[in-house]
């Protein structure tokens, strides 16, 4: 069992501004650095647009300063061995040999080459989202949106930290890694599956709970499963986007 209650994460103003400039509506979800550079180039000659960027920098910097005081990055995780996969159900057993069955539906196919899976739940705590909600309710949607983006970026960085743990273990064993799977985000594994996944981890240790709608509280928390195995070819954690039914429309696609 792995429990970390203070993950050191650094986030810069520039990273937030880049994320704000990456408009998935415009790009169909694909990262569009060309568009960003193009926009920045245009901005130089456009006083009014430059004014927007200058204004954004100040607000983003202020929001980031306030956010840093209320980020509580925590993680709980555990390795499970994969016993078998049958009828889209994956049978796991942990260190105490207690078995767990997850119905991953279509996404069970991503575990066919696996030997072991890393279950994890991580969070940035609830203080930032309280700030976000407060800003939203007073009608400051810009500030609320920036807090939202900051929270998501912190969460993404913890995700990278999780990926690195998995990739290192796979590397040490001479194995490869599977894709990042999260209930409600991958085809076939419904959000309700989060209840069972979380039941396998002491999420209360990181002050996370799951509500009656299968939503993790604090909201900026995530549960996931990443498998490793001798038959996987990739060395880095991947995504399942290319197999998703919403791949053409999705605004979050990697």
């Amino acid at each position: 069992m792995l429990i970390i209650k203070n993950i050191d994460i650094h986030l810069s103003t520039e990273e937030i501004l880049e994320s704000l400039c990456n408009n998935p509506q415009k790009t169909g979800g694909k990262k569009n650095t060309k568009k960003i550079k193009h926009q920045q180039k245009n901005i130089k000659g456009d006083f009014l647009a430059a004014n927007i960027v200058n204004k954004m920098s100040d607000i983003v910097e202020l929001c980031l300063k306030k956010s840093r005081k209320c980020i509580r990055s925590k993680l709980v995780a555990r390795w499970f061995e994969i016993k078998e996969i049958k009828d889209e159900k994956v049978y796991f057993f942990g260190l105490n040999k207690k078995s767990l069955v997850l119905d991953l539906g279509f996404s069970s196919k991503f575990l066919k080459e696996s030997n072991t899976a890393f279950f994890s739940v991580y969070t940035i705590g609830g203080e930032l989202e309280a700030k976000e909600a407060k800003a939203s309710l007073k009608g400051d949607y810009l500030e609320s949106y920036i807090y939202d983006i900051i929270g998501l970026l912190y969460l993404k960085k913890i995700g990278t930290f999780v990926n690195e743990i998995v990739e290192k273990k796979a590397h040490d064993l001479g194995w490869g890694v599977g894709p990042f799977l999260s209930p409600g985000s991958v085809h076939g594994w419904e959000l309700s599956g989060q209840n069972l996944l979380c039941s396998a981890l002491p999420i209360n240790e990181i002050d996370v709970h799951i509500n009656e709608y299968s939503v993790l509280i604090p909201h900026k928390s995530l549960s996931c499963l990443i498998a490793i195995g001798s038959k996987y070819q990739k060395k880095k954690v991947g995504s399942t986007c290319d197999h998703c039914v919403s791949k053409e429309l999705c605004q979050m696609k990697y």
Binding site: I52, S136, Y213
Partner: protein, 206 residues
């Protein structure tokens, strides 16, 4: 007025407020400023966002500038006894904490001159029912982003319709997992695929 519209479009809040003050001091009618400059430019901003020309922060900055202008105009309109075009009650259904989509709809509606009563997120059906009673809105907007809270939305719509059976308040819904079929299934009046369509629907109720 062209300058005022430009200030809003490019999110220059202080300049917007100053320009509004200046124009009013020069004898401009606040209603004219609202209807001929501020509302049309917010429509334009919405269209630019929709087409991908504007990024989300640009729209939010424009909305903030609009708000700063409205802070000057609103008290004058109230003093003159001029009421908003209509009221819309809006919120994210119980169990769901997502508010970005809802906020974009609020921006579109306020930018179009409507009063919006924002109930926030995780809103139980009873709170919608009471707000409808208190504010007599043209429409009520329900938002949900999770498949699990779509069921809550269905229940909320049924409870609102039961509680306000005589008034038959129009119910519009929005959120990533929703569609027209779901709106019909839960007996909602409208599914808004984006903030602009929600605004157009409310305008059609006038």
């Amino acid at each position: 007025m062209k300058k005022l519209a430009e200030y809003i479009k490019y999110g220059k809040g202080v300049e917007t407020a100053n320009r509004v003050k200046q124009l009013i001091n020069e004898g401009a009618n606040p209603e004219t400023l609202l209807n001929d400059a501020m509302i049309p430019v917010m429509d334009e901003v919405g269209a630019l966002f929709q087409s991908g020309e504007f990024f989300m922060p640009e729209m939010l900055i424009a909305a903030r500038a609009m708000q700063q202008g409205m802070d000057i105009i609103k008290p004058i309109l109230v003093a003159k006894g001029i009421k908003p075009m209509g009221t819309v009650v809006i919120g994210t259904v119980e169990g769901d904490l997502h508010d970005l989509g809802k906020n974009l709809v609020i921006i579109a509606l306020e930018g179009a001159g409507f009063k919006v009563v924002d109930l926030g997120v995780d809103v139980p059906a009873a709170k919608f029912i009471n707000a409808i009673k208190d504010h007599n809105p043209l429409a009520v907007g329900l938002s949900a982003l999770l498949s699990s809270t779509m069921l809550v939305m269905k229940d909320t719509v049924a409870k609102i319709q039961k509680a306000h059976a005589e008034k038959k308040v129009k119910i519009m819904i929005g959120g990533a997992p929703l569609n027209n079929e779901f709106a019909q299934e839960i007996n909602a009046d409208f599914f808004g695929v984006d903030p602009a369509s929600a605004k157009d629907f409310v305008r059609s109720l006038l």
